[in-house]
Amino acid sequence: MIQLVAINKSFKEHKVVNDISIVINKGEFLTLLGPSGCGKTTTLRMIAGFEEPTSGEILLDGIDVSTKNPYERNVNTVFQSYALFPNMDVYNNIAFGLKIKKLSKEVIKEKVTKVLVLVQLEDFGDRYPSQLSGGQKQRIAIARAIVNSPKVLLLDEPLGALDLKLRKQMQFELKHLQKKLGITFIYVTHDQEEALTMSDRIAVMNEGKIEQVGTPDEIYNKPKTKFVADFIGETNLFEGVIETHSDNKLSVLLDSDEKIDVIDGTLDKLKQGDSIYITIRPERMKLSHSKVESKNMLKGIVKERIFVGSINKTVIKLSNEKEVIINEPAIDTLKFQGEGDEVYVSWEYEDSVVINQ
């Protein structure tokens, strides 16, 4: 179990990591997700020991390791550039950590062979890194790390250099591997799709802070901040003032004098007059020619139609000039979705998600 307690990191005057606290559970696949410069890699490097926190504690199974060197922690890293030693062959690369531990030749051979089988590169022992493809290097890098049976494996955007198809394949394999070995994985990426695919939980980071920690479902469907809503997937964001609040239902007045209703049992703290944001995912919205009852409904004109393969993406211009995006499965190509057509956009009350910030 890893715990980061009030971690701060500044380089000179620039604060890169700002008061981060998080608990990572044993055997969990946790992803640090965020745009470039959000501090996710720095955080990972602090866990690995390559940077020392300016303040705060890093606890590994209850012991503070924040001042310990990387070689004193039972944590291993898979680098973005793989960092395979060019002067050693694959076998010796993998065996490196074991040799440092002074294990016997036989034990080393056994472990290395085992892990090579695990990454499906059994015959590659005497090859040199320069003779390997990108995907192979990546797997050897993983092998070199996990052969040491670390408690935690840190992965710094390991799939960034691979092409799309290989990346998708590796995502699957990594997840599979993690489940099999039961090691805690802390994964860093800026690719939200990757994060959503692989993680048990995601910590979304922005400008050195953690915006939200949650399961992929929570992050996606119940974003807690504007940033999270915007960063993950696409979203339609509305701003308004609470008009009425009764039981679980909120009525929100938009500046276009239209109303949106929200049904959500967790919003007792909000009261009349509060200013809030509401976000609705594009795939939760539907288009129709005619008015719709017992749902949220807004009127608008079709501005643009975009074909994205499996989805029909339509941009609708609402009466207050605001644009929304609607994603519908491309199975029905309805006649009225031509540009300039008048349409009604509707969605369930429950699908409105309230965000305070």
Binding site: N69, Y71, V75, N76, S81, A83, N87, F96, I100, R144
Partner: protein, 291 residues
Amino acid sequence: MKKTKKSKNKKQTASIVTTISPVLLWMIILVAIPLVIVFIMGFLTRGIYGQVEYIFTFQNYADLLKPMYVQIFVYSLWISFITTLICLVLAYPFAYFIANVKAKYKVLLFMLIIIPFWTNSLVRTYAWMIILGTNGIINSYLLQFGVIKEPLKLLYTNGAVILGLVYTLFPFMVLPLYASIEGLDKSYVEAASDLGASPLQAFLRVTLPLTMSGVAAGSVLVFIPSLGLFFIPDLLGGSKTMLISNLIQNQFLTARNWPFGSAVSILLIIITIIFIILYFNKSKNKGLEVM
């Protein structure tokens, strides 16, 4: 189509030739021709008064096999080897330090190495004589502070010669080493550390092997010139040791045996070429970068 391709190639070659022709001319007149002259001279005979007589002979090269000369060669190679080794041991930490220090200090440290280079090396060797002499700086200080009773014999020793050689050739070792260390991807060292290696282990198993190209380049750049620096054994060694360089100097100036001197020179050039070939082969095999 064929015609245009041919004329294009011709134009390209003509262009290349005209671009390098000044350098080519310089190389031919000042390097190639003198080398040929020296090579031919090695097969000629010395006259009574030390002139060159155009009588073909292998005797000069045969003489090289005499034990006395073999000894000179072996000793010279030994001195050069020691010089190279000491340079390496001293230069590596220094180069490592420069590579890892903040950018603003790097320039200062480089200046420390390069600025003495702007002074004539002969003048700097004389400076060492002043420092090491019986009444020189070192002895004066040690005597004054009572550390020693009698002045130390520092000058006109083999140690002084090696000191002079190491001092003069030091920058040639530092610069390639620095380039090699600086070019080393830091993530290799991080990976080693991550896998449990202490700083020393990381250095021995990762950094050192990966900077071997710098070590090799620096070694060649020190070893080969050290074979030819005759004025350092002359000045700092009291002219007592006869190294290859001194032997050549002696043959041309004192013994006036130009044919034999030429033979020795050619042998020195051959030894140099052998080492350079070894260096290039080694670099190729390991797939490391050639400086």
